[in-house]
Symmetry: C2
Subunit: 209 residues, 2 copies
DNA sequence: CTCGTTTCCGTACGACTGTACAGAAAAGAT
DNA sequence: ATCTTTTCTGTACAGTCGTACGGAAACGAG
């Protein structure tokens, strides 16, 4: 038996190289050769683990959403008040601290692929649907707790929060100097307040984190 | 004197070809050759009007925001109630009808460039700032009319509306089947209502258009 | 018709792309 | 030490790309 490498780990390693290249030079520069150079391997070696470039890029993209899901699960055992559950959910998905922001930038970079590539489009629809459902769940929590403003349409509000979330993501990635983490937090808090009954608004003495 | 062509018009004609290509095959496919083929000219001919590819793409992108500005001015002489001014402003900028949606898709396609190219970044910042100011103005109109909810921070709300707008733009471009024009309108109307004093909410018997 | 300018095009060069393929290097099992 | 399978690499091919350059075509003024 010959030398054996953990294929999955090697693939993750190469995906990280994809991130680095995309982050530095854009998604158009994520060629097989560039990724190989970044990872310190020969292009043919990359080819050994990913038969095609598309496979490589798709895998790299899928890893970012896996990361987001994991980040989300980290303390979803968070039975505190539904209001801060909404906040932490958004904040976990929309990474504001240093490294994790790369995932958002990757997402923006890959958006251009969604317009063209059918697979990327399907993948995007899938994760978008999951995000919508997640937001619908946490907003449903507000309603169940009787904290939501009266006449609030949970489905509509989930879409609205989702759109706000996507917009903030884009702006964090494309205009980090204008849309700072503090500003993002302020916008999100204001938005959540707008979902609540007046008596539950404000008083974010402990903006989680 | 030889044959004379209107350079500016020819440039606009070529920019339209850029749109068509970007729309169909993505921004990565917007090569000089592809644009020339689309426009029915030789690649060298395109070169005659745009010395470099970058010049071509930048010009095409700038034309889309010119279009948006023009669309905006079309009936900005609209002194009706400030509430529907907010709505029409958003709707004019976020084209929902057939053709004009291409501009939004172009914007999404070009976002990936913003992450990399310094010029694209500056251009994006500039237009984003203008959009923010515009939103701040119309929201200021709500406040001045005494229709805004109490304790409303106009600057913050301008940013929030801007983020919602960008998110809707992305979703309209990437998931048109989920985010239909009707859904967009519903989300925007709900958002505007959340900015108002309770007594001014609802009753959009005449959603403009 | 002829000249001069503008407009347009064909060609060419160097660089990069994805990927197919054949063979070299590595390393555990015998 | 030898064998066998995995791992890795070099090379090659057929594209596409941006763009520089020289010359052809078009066309208005004289």
């Amino acid at each position: 038996m010959p030398k054996i490498v953990d294929h999955e780990q090697r693939r993750r390693e190469l995906a990280s190289a994809v991130w680095a290249v995309v982050r530095r030079d854009g998604v158009a520069a994520a060629s097989v050769r560039a990724v190989a150079r970044e990872a310190g391997w020969s292009p043919s070696s990359v080819q050994y683990y990913f038969a095609t470039q598309d496979e490589l890029l798709t895998f790299a993209m899928r890893m970012t959403v896996d990361g987001a899901e994991q980040r989300l699960r980290e303390d979803s055992a968070n039975p505190e008040d539904p209001r801060s559950l909404v906040f932490t959910t958004v904040e976990r998905l929309l990474p504001l601290d240093s490294d994790a922001r790369v995932a958002t930038e990757l997402w923006v970079a890959f958006l251009s692929r969604v317009l063209i590539d059918a697979d990327a489009r399907a993948f995007n629809s899938q994760t978008a649907r999951e995000t919508s459902e997640l937001f619908a769940t946490v907003i449903g929590g507000l309603c169940d707790a009787g904290m939501a403003a009266e006449g609030l349409d949970a489905g509509l509000e989930a879409d609205r929060l989702h759109a706000l979330f996507d917009g903030l993501s884009v702006q964090v990635a494309t205009e980090p100097e204008r849309m700072t983490p503090e500003r993002v937090r302020a916008v999100v808090l204001a938005h959540i307040d707008s979902l609540l009954l007046p008596e539950h608004r404000g008083g974010w003495h402990d903006p989680p984190r």
